[in-house]
């Protein structure tokens, strides 16, 4: 029995780490007042860049750095569009996701097949990134609540005009929040292609960026809550891998049911969730 519990806990961590990292990234962006639907594309680009660099340099660590950079780069575009050109946040995010999907699918065809294979892409043990995610969770919590710069970021997300009156530059703060969120999402993507299942495949993130956003909402824009919700979703991603073909109460459920679980639970969770805690007041307005 204890063995079973261990397996489930490990599975939860293994399936949830990418969601945890990305969800914490989303937190930094949204706490500064910028909606980041682009997390999905940032994850995807991160997963792609990580696999490609790891394949060519034979170094998983360089791959991870490339994943972080790629996510940050796409996030920089999001910051530029939303802050400098005042484009609708959701619009910009959707477009960036499309571009990321197009670019990665296009380039994957032009590159050697090894990018997609387990044996050719050097990887890191998955739990190493789980530890990184847990440390980041604590660091972000302390930084947001107990350091001047973290408090400034929250102030901008809650009321940018007031923050500007006391001498904070909201644009600068949001650039930081958005780019940091992209780097974390990129790392979340790198986890997929360099730790969880080494190698890159088309549309590898498959909606995890959006599930990370849902985890952020269910976790009430708080680092511990977001991480906990992300792990819960991770458990169901794992359940899908284990439970396929296992009868429940003597009924053989179709594969598609297990594949649907994480998405189904997201909808149910959002339907049952009353927004008792408010999102950052200025979210999406700036």
């Amino acid at each position: 029995m204890t063995l079973l519990i261990q397996v489930w806990i490990l599975g939860m961590l293994r399936g949830g780490t990418s969601l945890m990292l990305t969800s914490l990234g989303g937190l930094l962006s949204e706490r500064s007042g910028v909606i980041n639907i682009g997390l999905e594309g940032m994850m995807l680009l991160g997963a792609f860049a990580g696999a490609v660099v790891s394949y060519f340099t034979k170094s998983a660590l360089l791959g991870l750095s490339a994943a972080v950079l790629a996510g940050g780069l796409l996030a920089y575009a999001h910051a530029l569009l939303t802050q400098r050109l005042k484009v609708e946040h959701v619009m910009s995010g959707i477009a960036l996701n499309l571009v990321a999907l197009g670019v990665t699918s296009f380039l994957l065809r032009r590159l050697p097949d090894g990018i997609g294979s387990f044996s050719k892409v050097p990887s890191v043990p998955w739990w190493s990134l789980t530890i990184v995610a847990c440390v980041l969770m604590g660091v972000i919590y302390v930084w947001l609540n107990y350091t001047p710069s973290g408090i400034r970021l929250q102030a901008v997300g809650n009321d940018a005009e007031k923050a500007a009156q006391v001498g904070i530059d909201p644009i600068k703060v949001r650039y930081f929040g958005v780019i940091a969120s992209g780097m974390l999402a990129g790392l979340g993507g790198g986890y997929l292609s360099l730790a969880q299942t080494p190698g890159f495949s088309v549309n590898m993130s498959s909606g995890r960026g959006y599930i990370a956003l849902a985890a952020l909402i269910l976790g009430r824009w708080n680092p511990f809550g977001a991480a906990a919700a992300a792990l819960a979703f991770g458990l169901f991603y794992q359940a899908e891998e284990w439970m396929q073909g296992t009868p429940i109460f003597g009924v053989q459920l179709p594969t598609e049911f297990w594949l649907s679980l994480p998405y189904l639970l997201t909808v149910i969770a959002l339907a049952g969730f009353r927004g008792r805690s408010k999102p950052p007041a200025d979210l999406g307005k700036t």
């Binding site: 959707i94 499309l98 197009g102």
Partner: protein
Amino acid sequence: MKRVLTILALIISATALIAVAVASTGTPPGYAFIIFVQGAFGDKAQWMQTLSLTIPLLLTGLSVAVALRAGLFNIGAEGQLLVGGLMGAWTGYAFVLPYGLHLGLVLIVGALAGAIWALPAGLIKAWRGGHEVITTIMLNYLALNLVNYLLNGPMRAVSAFNEPKTPELMRSAWMPMLSFTDNSLSLGILVGIFVAIGLWVWLFRTPNGYETRAVGANSNAAKAHGISISRTLIMTMALSGALAGLAGAVLVAGVPEHRFYRDFSPGYGFDGIAVGLLAGANPLGVIPAAVVFGAVDSGTRYMESLTSVPRDIAVVVRGLIILGVAGLTWQRKKGSAK
């Protein structure tokens, strides 16, 4: 001035990006472009293909545009289209009905299925404040799994050995072809144009349409005028889903196969987002916008068959068009309700 320069720089870098991508495949960008234009509008056959590809984009574009009018982002058109197409196919093969009635029923069932699939997103947005972007995306994945399940099991044609597909629709449920000489363009194009005109009239010439636009423009002001925000959001989301479901039904009744099969939609629902944005969420503007994207589809297919440039380039072009045109026309208004 600075803004104009930034936009110009973006357009130039986007064009350069596409040119480099094309050049990387070994085809000169200029030559690829000529082939691309020939593939989209070269002769009557290419025009027919462009317009055929326009049909689904027209209806999914309308779906996205209508939702945008109420301030909703419907990213779920893809899933709504799949569910609508499959349920439309089932109506078409499982029943025996007189000619006109049967086709009509296929379209109605498809639209209803799409509306039902969009409803949870509307309800969660109106009653719980959950962002519709997340819920519609989740519903897309659920639709894909549901369709795969039904296609592999209960609705699979008896003779389908390798490719899962439904039985063929009864002839009484087929969409008529526009011309008797070639069977490439279905009446679906006219259905799309009529629906576009109808939606424009509703939005801009009726009180209910005005209310819907008021909610999208400024929900606080609309509330102050006694308009029910939650009812508007739920109804508009359902209407948006119905249009995407109709797109699926029109497709299944009009494609040469006359059945629903695996990989039925190569992403028409997502392309609809680009079309709806490009049209500035105006139903009449959706018509030319859909033709533009139909041409991109048709041109890239032709290009893929004649040069070394893969069709994936179209996805990049679409994303960049959204960024370039729609992104810049959808500015956030100061003090808007969003």
